[in-house]
Every structure is written in C-alpha cells, then in structure tokens.
C-alpha cells in the first residue's frame, strides 16, 4: 500500500463538534419539558418551527456562500441557535415572530460575520434582542400557568393569532414583570395583592431548576468548564443579596433572582457559548461575572423585565478586550515555584 505523509498527531480523541452540539440540545430537554408543563404547547410548537427555519436558512446561506452544505448542517450549530431562541421566546409567539428572529440570527448574526466560529455575537441573543425591541408586545405574551390550552387551540393561535376571546385572558405577566412594575407597592404588598406572582415564581423556579440540571449534565460531560456559568451566578446572586439585605421590600432576594426568568438557561446554555465568549478560564470568569452584574442592573433599573440578551451582547462586545488582559501564564513564565529540595 502506498504510504501517505501526514502531520502528527496521528491519533485523535474522535470528539466532534456535532457531538458537543448534540449534547447541548439533549441537555435542554428537561427545561423544555418543565416549561411545556407549566406554559403549554406553545414552546414545543415554537421549537419545531424554529428548528425547521434554522436548518432551511442555514442551508440556503451556506449555498449562497458556496460552502459545503451537508457537513455544516450536520454539525448542529444552527439547531442550537434555534433551540435557544425558541426556548427564550414566550409561548404565545406567532409564527412570524419566530421567523423574523431565526432568520436574523442565522443570516445576519451568524453567517454575515463568517459563519460558525466567526460570529462576535451570540446569534440567538441577537435575534432575541431584535424581537424584544421591535415587537415588545408580542414578546410579553407569556401564558398563565393555571391556564391549559389544548394543542389545537395553541396551534390555531400560532398560525392565525386568533383565539376564543381576548388573548389577554390567556396571558399573564411573568414574575419578573410583576416585581419590576410594582406600581409603588412594596414586594410583600405585591405578593399579597397579586396571586400571579406566587404562581409565576413557582413555575419559573421549576423551569430554572430543570435547566440547572441540564447544565450540570453538560459540566459533567465536559462540554464546557464551570468558570463562566458559576461566575455569572455568583455575580448576579451577590448583587441581589447585597441589595436585598439593604432594602428587602424593593429588591427581590438572591434566590428569586437566580430562579426566575432566563437565569439558568442563560448561565448554562448561552453564557457558555464559546464562540462569542472569552477564551481563557480567567477570561471566562470575568465574562460570566460581567453578565451577572449587568443582568442585575438591567433587571433592577432598566425598562425591560429580563436582561440576558442585552447583558450577554454587551459582554460579547467586551470579550476581545477581556481576552487581551486575561492571557494565562504559559509554562516557564511563572515566578519560581517553591523549591522541592526539602520535600523528601
């Protein structure tokens, strides 16, 4: 047999990008299940629709860019974007909202910047931020947890945006929304007067715990390191605890911050995005911490109830700067380690 010339190493772990992406997709399933349990079929419908759109747009733009379609389509990165966006969108999103979000994520945020590995911003978050700014009303249509719609009703709404009666009868403000817009009341007064808050908090706590479970699974399978998510949770938790200690009636507690909204979904599935995040482990700590602090600030003082899209995009912007200042010390560049002379 003719001998070939190849550069070392000749051995490979056989790990693949597609495996990493598949693990990420799998890890979202507990969260998806719990979210669907509380908020109905909306998220599921959204997810399927977003996935189909993402694959279609990915294929189209790969073709336009003259890239091989199959290998890139099969790496699963487009599906991850679709999943993250669909999970973040409210259950009452109509078809066109998802269409706008996914197309912008895949075509603009990802491929116009060079495709997989070259996008400076997290594509799902770019799509989400666009929708949040352009269609603020549609983006608040979260279902009430006590309301159960049949699949048919949800399907009907999804395509035609009509439902038996007023849509407002079916939607509820999220826990974060309620806590953000207290209309001058203290948090305890709001909790007493608005039963939606307790319901919302319970639902989002379970959803967050489910995402936490998926995140831990990814940590165990070494898809990413602990640095970015833990730093983010610490940053958010610390700020929340500090302010809650000072003004417990104005600022929700750390646990409420950590277990509402998109906290866990972001911490383990979005902050950990390697492409748009910081590179070194020290950098990831800074990146995560920055996201956590920004989320607290925007949640507490901004005009949007949740803040992950903006916090993450802002930190994406800072990632190159963080990288510059957090280069690890290479072997042999450290100050001398203590001598081992006396160790035996």
């Amino acid at each position: 047999m003719a001998l070939i010339t190849l550069s070392s190493p000749h051995h490979h772990s056989l790990s693949k990008t597609s495996r990493i992406m598949a693990l990420v997709l799998l890890a979202t399933l507990p969260g998806l299940a719990v979210q669907s349990y509380f908020y109905g079929y909306g998220t599921l419908i959204n997810l399927v629709w977003a996935s189909a759109l993402a694959l279609a747009f990915e294929a189209l733009i790969l073709r336009l860019r003259g890239r091989p379609v199959a290998p890139y389509l099969l790496d699963g990165s487009a599906l991850v974007t679709a999943f993250l966006l669909a999970l973040a969108l409210p259950p009452f999103s109509p078809w066109w909202l998802t269409l706008v979000g996914v197309s912008f994520s895949i075509v603009f945020a990802k491929h116009l910047y060079g495709g997989l590995g070259s996008n400076p911003f997290n594509p799902a978050m770019v799509g989400y931020a666009l929708l949040l700014i352009a269609f603020p009303v549609s983006m608040t249509q979260w279902a009430g947890t006590e309301i159960t719609l049949t699949f048919g009703q949800q399907w009907h709404w999804f395509w035609l945006e009509s439902i038996n009666g007023d849509i407002d009868a079916y939607t509820r403000a999220t826990a974060l929304d309620i806590m953000r817009h207290t209309k001058g009341l203290t948090l305890s007064e709001v909790a007493n007067s608005n039963p939606d808050l307790a319901l919302g908090l319970t639902a989002s706590m379970w959803v967050n715990l489910a995402y936490l479970l998926g995140g831990i699974a990814l940590l165990v399978t070494k898809v990413f390191t602990w640095h970015a998510p833990v730093a983010m949770l610490v940053g958010l938790g610390f700020c929340a605890a500090l302010f809650h200690m000072g003004e417990p009636d104005l600022y929700p507690s750390a646990s409420q911050h950590l277990l509402t909204g998109a906290t866990m979904l972001s911490a383990f599935f979005i902050v950990t995005d390697p492409v748009s995040g910081a590179t070194s482990r020290k950098g990831k700590l800074v990146f995560g911490l920055g996201v956590g602090i920004l989320v607290f600030i925007i949640r507490s003082y901004g005009s949007y109830p949740d803040a992950f899209a903006f916090a993450i995009l802002l930190m994406n912007l800072s990632a190159p700067l963080i990288d510059t200042y957090t280069k690890p010390k290479a072997y042999g560049h450290k100050p001398k380690a203590p001598s081992s002379q006396g160790s035996n």
Partner: protein, 661 residues
C-alpha cells in the same frame, strides 16, 4: 516517597501498549547493509574518517564529532564501507544526508574493547571522555549529545530519569527497564558521580507495573547494601497522562518546578536523562562498548510479531519491518515514533538511528482518519489540554491569519508540539501543523530581519568610513598648511628684513587699482548721469505701481491699504529725491533738458508759422500784409534755430558730450 505534582492539561489517548510489551526484547539478526547518517543528533554532523573500500570492525570509530555539540559514530558491525553518499534520512520531509554505508560480512567481529572494572576509580574527566567517545546521544527522541548535559555549569540537585514513556504504543523503555534494570542503575550512579552526587528521581507512569516492580526491587537492594555510600535513587510512580514524559512536564511532576522560559533544566539545578541513555552510559563505561545498537518498538496491528527489538544503528526500516513480519499491505501510514509526535515516512530504505524508538505500522482504522477539518468554535478543549498552558485556539487564529507577532506574543515558542490540542479538537483541525508553519515563518522572518540588520550595519559603517576619510583628508590638509605656515614663519624669523611676498603683491595690486580708479573718474560722468536717470525712472515706476495698488486696496477696503499708504509716501519721497539728484547733476553738468525742449518747441512753432504764412501768401488777396508777417516769422525762426544750435553746441562742449564723442 516524594510528593508528586501535577502539570496543567494533558490527555488520555488509548495506550495500546499491550500490543508490543508482552514479548521480551529480541535481538535482530545482522542486516546485510547498514546506513549511518553523519547527523543523527542535534548539533554539528560528524566527519567521516573512513573511505569507501575500508574494512571496519564492530565498534570502530568511523566518524568523528565536530565541535562540542556533536557525536561520534561507530561501525555497528564488521564489514566493508561500500559508499559514503547521500541517502534518505528518517525525516518527515524525506530529506537526504550524507551516510556511511557498510556492507556487513556477518562475522560481527569486535574491535578491541577496554572495559572499566572499577568505575569509581575513574576521574570525572576520564568518565566524560569515555561517554563522549562512545557517541552517546539522548535516546528518548531528541538526540542531544549526552556528554553536554553531563557537564553543566550550574550546581545540580536532582537527576531526573525519564521512564515515563507517555506516548501510546511505544514500549521500548518499558522493556528496557524490565530487562536492563541493573545496567540502568549503574548508568545512573555514573551520572550522579559526574553531576556532583545529586539525588535521582526515576519517573515511571503507573501503566508499567512490571517495570516499576523490577526497578523498585533493584533500588531497594542497592539502598540496603550501600545506603551510606551512594546518593539516593528513588522510583517515582506518576499517573498515566500524556505528555508526562515531556522533559519539562516530567520535571514539574517530580519537583513542582518549571523550567524557565527560554532556559534549560540545569538553570533550576536539574538534569534529565532517558532510561535508554543511562543504560548506554553504563555499557560505554562498564563494557567499553560505544553506542551501536538500540531497542526499538515495532508495533501496530499490521505487525504480526509486534514487540521490541535490539537493532543495530543503521538497520534499514524495511529490514526491521520484515524481521517483525509487518504486513505492508495492511498499512498506509508508517509512523516513526509514537502516534502523538511521530512522523510519517514513505521511504522504508531509510535507517534506524540513535533516537528511533518506535516504528508504528498501524492498520488504517487504528489511527485517526484523514478528516476534513471544520471551523474552530473556540470551545477551549485545546486550552484545557495544553501542557504548556498556552491558548491553542488563539495561536491557531494567529497562525491562520499569519499574524506572527501576535502568535509570538502568545508564546508560540513555548509550544512543545505534543499534539494534545489537536487530539482533543472536535473540529479536527491539524493544530500542530499550523504551529509548525508559524514557527517556521517566525524563524524565516527572524533570519530576514537579521540579514536586513547586517545590511544596515554594513551600509552605516560604509557611510561612516566615507565621512572618516573625508575628515582625515581635511585634517591632513590643515596639517600641511600649518607646517607650511610654520616654515614660513621660521623663514621670516630667520630673515626679518625680507618683505612678505604676499603682502607686497597685495600692496602692488591695490596701488594699481587705485590708479585705475583715478583714471576712470572723468569718464564716469555719463555713467553716473545714466544711473541717476535710471534710478529716477525706477522710483517713478515703483511709485506708479504702488499708487495703483493703493487705489485698488482702498477701493476694496483692503487691510493692506495702510501699509501701502506708507510705502507710497516713502516712494514719493524717494522719487522726489531721485529727481532732485538727477536735476542737480544735470545742472552741475550744464545740462538742461527743459531748456532744450523749450528751444526745440520754439523752433517748431516758428517753422509752423513760416509754413502757414507761406501757404497763406500763395492764396492771399493782400500779399503785402502777409509778406510782412512772413518776414517777421522767418526772422524769429532763424532766432529760434540759432538758439537751439547754440544750446546744442554748448552741450557738446560739456563733459558728457566729450565723453560720448
């Protein structure tokens, strides 16, 4: 037992060591031909001291080390030197190099050897001489001449013996430790003696329990028998993790210290030797045998008799493969070295050299398939794996974009090319190849910069030389002038009455000039007159121009107006002066252009009157009146003409006319 440290990163590839470590070492039959490259080591190539046709004995020196970092080469078996020529070297790019080719005669006849029975009695310099003469180089892979490492400048506190053998598939060190433990320990003691009796740590990965057991036993016996007379030797079992056998990594595992960037282990008081190298040292000293063979692993699923072979240096790869029953139809990738850092060879007629520790003839599915690599997603797995604590993903981007300065800034040069990053890369990017490319380019660029720097220095010294020459000439000239002046002064001092000839000449010239000026004085009247006229005209013109400009400026209300106003008044004054000077001069010369003009006008008037009257006379009714008038006019005409003629005559008499004529 000493404390064991960990190093950053590392990976756990499938070890596949059982394929080759089950069988004891087999000595390979003497091949028909041996090919000995003159450059098997790091440093200068050796110089051949035999000629084609020479008969050489086993162990005979056939090529001499050139310089400090170089190594002797000996004939591995007896036979005839058939050629000294270019042959393909065991190298990734199939480079060629000069090789001594020996056709063996099968007698395997040794040259006279001089074994040392009591090495303790030898002086260090004698020991170093024996090791140098034996041509021993590092047997672990790099092939650095051992004698250099055994005479460090710094004080050594630890001798690290590398028995980690972290590369998958390779088991030559494993078998060597099991079967040659006594020789190894002897070699270690010799090295300790040379290095000033430091402690010795033998690092072995825990996947070699048999080797650990054997060595522990030998070391235990030794310390029981002679604990007081010898420095300590310790077997350190380290966790199996690639690349723990890298020199820098093993030093960190065993001592917790890092070799400083750009430095060598001796900088922190450590010397590292491979187990095969210390065995070779023992052979050289105790048996008097130079380095002419080594233990090489032949492995991979294509090798029917995978195992370890004691082969003569210079044995052709094809001979060894045949001896180990390798089915070459089953493999398309022949790797020299291990699967992580080894290189592929295509020409199997290339020889086994002093640093060839393994031949891997793997079946096609055994090694990583040739994959199309994907985009880097910066997942960071490579960073987690990198034992040099670099950012491989960043280095990859920099290498790809040819941003070599940035790559260097990210410590590209600290990359040991272990391949851990490429091994874990989910996008299957051949990262090490990118780093090799970048390192090569950095080297090229440094060379270019060096050459440019040389040219600059050359150019600048040339410029300086030219300036120096010029200055030297100037200096010389000055010196000459000074000498001449001094001579002159001396002359004058000797003869004070003699006039300075130059001063005399000058005086003469001046006198002449003066005389000339005196002569020229009367002639310059016209000139002066002309000059005055010109000056007056120029001032008038200037005045006119400036006045116009002033008018303009005033019309446009320009800020220059004031300045112009001043200029105009100055010019007016000047013009007046010039005119006055001119007139004064004219007066002095007796010139009066106004008078001449008046006279000329008078003449013209009289002429006109005469012509008019003559016409009138022709047509007059009363010619008498007209005639009387005409007579009057003619007389005044004559007067005027006379006056003019007089005046002009006067002028002619003036100095100007005299000059002009």
């Amino acid at each position: 037992m000493s404390k064991i440290w960990d190093f950053h990163g590392g990976v756990h590839p499938v070890e596949n060591k059982a394929q080759s470590n089950q069988m004891p070492i087999v000595t390979m039959a003497i091949p028909k031909q041996l090919i000995l490259p003159l450059n098997q080591h790091i440093g200068k190539p050796a110089k051949a001291i035999v000629e084609p046709g020479d008969y050489v004995l086993k162990g005979q020196l056939i090529a001499c080390a050139q310089g400090f970092v170089s190594a002797n080469i000996h004939a591995p078996s007896s036979g005839q030197v058939s050629a000294i020529e270019l042959r393909t070297l065991p190298h990734q790019s199939a480079l060629t190099g000069t090789c001594i080719v020996i056709d063996t005669d099968g007698k395997d006849q040794w040259i006279a050897l001089s074994p040392t029975l009591e090495p303790e009695s030898l002086s260090n310099s004698d020991l170093l001489h024996i090791i140098q003469a034996a041509g021993i180089t590092g047997m672990g892979g790099a092939g650095f001449p051992s004698v250099v490492k055994l005479q460090p400048k710094a004080k050594i506190h630890t001798l690290v013996i590398n028995g980690a053998e972290c590369e998958p598939y390779i088991t030559s060190d494993d078998r060597l430790m099991r079967e040659y433990a006594d020789e190894m320990i002897k070699g270690i003691q010799l090295a300790q003696k040379l290095l000033g009796q430091p402690r010795c740590l033998i690092g072995i990965e825990d996947n070699k329990p048999e080797a650990i057991a054997v060595l522990t036993q030998v070391v235990g016996l030794l310390s029981k028998n002679s604990a007081s007379t010898h420095p300590s030797i310790e077997v350190c079992v380290i966790p199996t993790k690639y690349p723990s056998g890298g020199e820098k990594q093993l030093i960190e595992i065993l001592t917790g210290q890092q070799v400083p960037h750009g430095g060598i282990p001796a900088d922190i008081g450590i010397v590292c030797q491979n187990v095969g190298t210390v065995k070779a040292i023992s052979d050289a000293v105790m048996l008097g045998q130079p380095l002419i063979n080594r233990i090489t692993t032949v492995t991979g699923k294509a090798a029917a008799n995978a195992g370890n072979y004691e082969v003569l240096i210079g044995t052709k790869v094809s001979d060894l493969l045949a001896f180990a029953n390798v089915d070459m139809t089953k493999t398309s990738r022949l790797v020299m070295g291990g699967p992580m850092m080894g290189f592929t060879i295509q020409d199997t007629h290339t020889p086994i050299i002093k640093s060839s520790n393994c031949l891997l003839a793997a079946e096609d599915l055994e090694l990583a398939p040739v994959a199309n690599h994907h985009s880097c997603i910066r997942c960071g797995l490579c960073e987690v794996a990198c034992p040099a604590q670099l950012l491989p993903q960043q280095l990859f981007w920099f290498a790809k974009a040819e941003e070599f300065e940035k790559a260097q800034d990210h410590n590209l040069s600290d990359c040991i090319e272990c391949g851990a990053c490429a091994w874990v890369c989910p996008s299957q990017i051949p990262l090490v190849q990118y780093y090799r490319f970048a390192k090569g380019r950095v080297k090229d660029l440094a060379n270019e910069a060096h050459i440019a720097e040389l040219s600059r220095v050359r150019f600048e010294s040339r410029e300086q030389r030219l300036i120096d020459d010029k200055l030297a000439k100037e200096e010389k000239r000055k010196n000459r002038a000074a000498t001449a002046a001094a001579a002159q002064a001396e002359k004058r001092a000797a003869n004070p009455n003699a006039q300075d000839p130059i001063a005399a000449a000058m005086a003469r010239v001046n006198a002449q000039k003066q005389a000339k000026a005196m002569d020229a004085e009367p002639k310059s009247h016209t000139q002066k007159y002309k000059e005055l006229k010109t000056a007056a005209a120029i001032t008038r013109t200037k005045l006119n121009k400036t006045s116009k400009a002033l008018a303009n400026a005033l019309a446009k209300d320009h800020e220059l107006a004031q300045g112009l106003q001043t200029t105009v008044s100055e010019l007016t004054e000047k013009a007046m002066h010039a005119q006055a000077a001119l007139q004064a001069y004219e007066a002095k010369l007796g010139l009066d252009p106004e008078k001449e003009k008046t006279l000329q006008v008078d003449v013209a008037k009289a002429n006109a009157m005469v012509r008019k009257l003559e016409k009138a006379l022709a047509t007059a009714e009363e010619p008498k009146d007209v005639e009387a008038e005409l007579v009057k006019a003619r007389s005044s005409q004559t007067k005027a003409t006379d006056a003019l003629t007089n005046h002009q005559a006067n002028l002619k008499a003036s100095p100007i006319s005299a000059q002009e004529s």
